[in-house]
């Protein structure tokens, strides 16, 4: 029956419609996979609210009988790992580097895409060439640079070198190439220059794209580990990822505290994700990542 009704919009020769059995199997496979994908999140929550004795008990525990919040104050009071400080550091770094990256990369992307300067293409190929240098290979030289600037264990060292993201600039250029030219021409007729039409026409009409780029950059900055590890030499300048890693390798803290710390660390992002996912999916799909 349902195959008949959908046939009007989605004919039977489309890949989407198999037999009823095939569709049921499809749904079952998806559900099993979805449960598997959620298991790690479940474990974080379960362990964060259990006691160490419950976690290490021989029998499997589905959920702690009496969820305890006691760990939360302990976590922030622990003198060994500055959890509160590291959360603040992460927030400052992630917000500042997202704002800075957006400002620098959208302007650069727009310039490369839309200003008919004679050598624009050459400049663009130069930027592309730096993309070929994998950013992780540059961590030794970048460390050399930052240490000679005296920015070790400093917000400047954590933030500024991450702002000039060739990949984001590339995405912005691809996006602005597809921005409707008519809108800008109307602005030009109204007497706006490049600067005016960029800020008053292009930016206000690119909300979804900017949201997607912002979320990707924010996630990248919040989750980044290697660079903060290289730069954050003193505990005061640790980001939350470095603090967690120290927790993990030291193995002196309790298990439940460790997982509570992990929960605190992923909470902001999961929150952002659940609310902005729509923009993200649209944005990722339309950023020109199509190849």
């Amino acid at each position: 029956m349902s195959a008949m009704t959908t046939a009007k919009t989605r004919p039977g020769y489309e890949p989407g419609l198999g037999s009823k059995g095939a569709r049921a199997a499809n749904l079952v496979i998806l559900s099993v996979l979805a449960v598997l994908f959620l298991v790690p999140f479940y474990l974080i929550v379960r362990n964060a609210f259990a006691t160490d004795a419950e976690i290490t008990a021989p029998g499997w525990m589905w959920f702690p009988s009496a969820p305890s919040w006691e760990n939360l104050p302990n976590l922030f009071a622990d003198p060994a790992v500055p959890m509160a400080r590291s959360l603040v550091n992460s927030a400052v770094v992630a917000v500042a580097s997202t704002a800075g990256t957006l400002l620098l990369c959208t302007t650069a992307g727009y310039g490369l895409a839309r200003i008919p300067y004679r050598h624009a293409d050459k400049v663009f190929y130069a930027v592309l060439a730096t993309l070929m240098i994998p950013s992780a290979v540059t961590f030794v030289p970048s460390f050399v640079m930052v240490s000679s600037l005296g920015w070790i264990s400093d917000f400047r060292g954590l933030i500024i070198p991450t702002l000039f993201n060739g990949f984001v600039a590339f995405l912005c250029r691809q996006y602005f190439l597809g921005f409707p030219r008519e809108l800008e021409e109307a602005a030009r007729v109204d007497g706006l220059g490049y600067w005016g039409s960029f800020w008053r026409i292009v930016i206000p009409n690119s909300g979804n794209f900017l949201a997607a780029i912002a979320v990707i950059t924010f996630v990248g900055a919040w989750n980044s580990f290697l660079w903060p590890l290289v730069i954050g030499r003193s505990p005061d300048s640790w980001t939350v990822q470095v603090a967690l890693s120290t927790f993990l390798t030291a193995q002196t803290v309790s298990l439940s505290q460790l997982f509570l710390a992990a929960l605190v660390a992923i909470f902001p992002l999961v929150f952002v994700f659940l609310f902005l996912q729509r923009f993200l999916v649209q944005g990722v799909a339309q950023t020109g990542l199509k190849g």
Binding site: P40, V140, V144, S245, V284
Partner: protein, 323 residues
């Protein structure tokens, strides 16, 4: 670009209404000025934090630069650091580790993300929910995932999830990470990365799947192709070519940068130490040997460049239609 530079400059001038002879040059200069105003700050930063460091590192790689970034001229060692790195068994082992890792992660990520996209494309029920679930791990950092994998799933003792499941089937506990023989640690490392990144590439594939014109499937149906395997190999996969090439590139580039999960799961152990971990401990560990670290980084960069070019050739990066 659709509009040629000269034509665009002309429309600019029409707006300002200057006299002809002078305005061609001043218009062009104004365009140049606007271009550099938009791109200048970014380009300057890119030069300072990418180009200069790489050049500096290349310079350091010719010196015995231990604990210093400005070596003296008597510390010049020529290609000494390069020959030492190429004879360094630990560095060569790290390249092998990376190759094994890439051999696992590239095909698996590709197959899993494409598989998820195909499954999602067919489902008519709770599609947004499933998409969110598969995409959610992308919000999780490698450090947090390592923590869960190491302390709760694959911790090698009875209360770990993996061993608890094996227990149901009467299989003895497996040490997973702490015993390099048999190398079960690969299962831990590869499953972690799969979990984090599959959802992201899945989104790219879903977007590409939705752009395949429906009439191709209609035509295939008329020609007698069976929906399913035949249309997948002869329509879906060829139509996904551009996306597939981009996804393979992105997976491989991300794999070169593998550091977080190796450090947090295994640490500085010789049996599973990718190049970045080795370079990190060489250049920034207790030795602070920036000369050798730089040489290693440049060797790695060279290998990556060659592999990327070869891959581009093999997959035909240039000959795809449209963007």
């Amino acid at each position: 670009m659709a509009v040629s530079p000269a034509a665009a400059a002309d429309t600019d001038r029409a707006g300002t209404g200057d006299q002809r002879p002078r305005s061609r040059r001043s218009g062009r200069r104004r365009t140049a000025l606007a271009f550099w105003a938009f791109t200048g700050p970014f380009l300057a930063g890119l030069a300072v934090f990418t180009v200069v460091p790489v050049a500096w590192s290349a310079y350091l790689s010719f010196f015995d630069a231990t604990n210093t970034v400005t070596p003296l001229s008597e510390d010049f060692v020529g290609f000494g650091n390069y020959t030492r790195m190429l004879q360094d068994q630990a560095f060569l082992d790290s390249l092998v580790t990376f190759s094994v890792f890439a051999a696992f992660i590239v095909p698996l990520t590709f197959a899993c993300s494409l598989g998820l996209a195909l499954l999602l494309d067919r489902v008519r029920f709770a599609r947004a929910f499933f998409r969110s679930v598969f995409f959610l791990p992308f919000a999780c950092s490698y450090v947090v995932a390592s923590l869960v994998w190491k302390m709760s799933i694959f911790n090698g003792v009875r209360y770990g999830l993996a061993n608890a499941v094996l227990d149901l089937f009467g299989v003895d506990d497996v040490a997973w990470l702490f015993n390099p023989d048999p190398p079960w640690y690969w299962l831990v490392i590869v499953s972690l990365r799969l979990w984090i990144q599959c959802g992201f590439y899945m989104i790219l594939f879903i977007a590409a799947l939705q752009q395949i014109p429906a009439h191709l499937y209609e035509a295939a149906y008329v020609d007698g192709a069976k929906p399913g395997r035949q249309t997948f190999w002869h329509i879906t996969l060829p139509q996904l070519r551009a996306t597939s090439v981009a996804v393979v590139m992105l997976i491989l580039i991300a794999a070169y940068q593998a550091f977080d999960e190796f450090v947090n799961l295994i640490g500085n152990q010789a049996y599973a130490r990718p190049p970045l971990v080795y370079l990190y401990y060489t250049a920034l560990g207790t030795q602070q040997d920036l000369g050798r670290g730089s040489a290693g980084a440049l060797i790695l960069a060279l290998i990556i460049a060659i592999v990327t070019l070869l891959q581009g050739r093999l997959l035909g990066f240039g000959n795809k239609e449209g963007r």
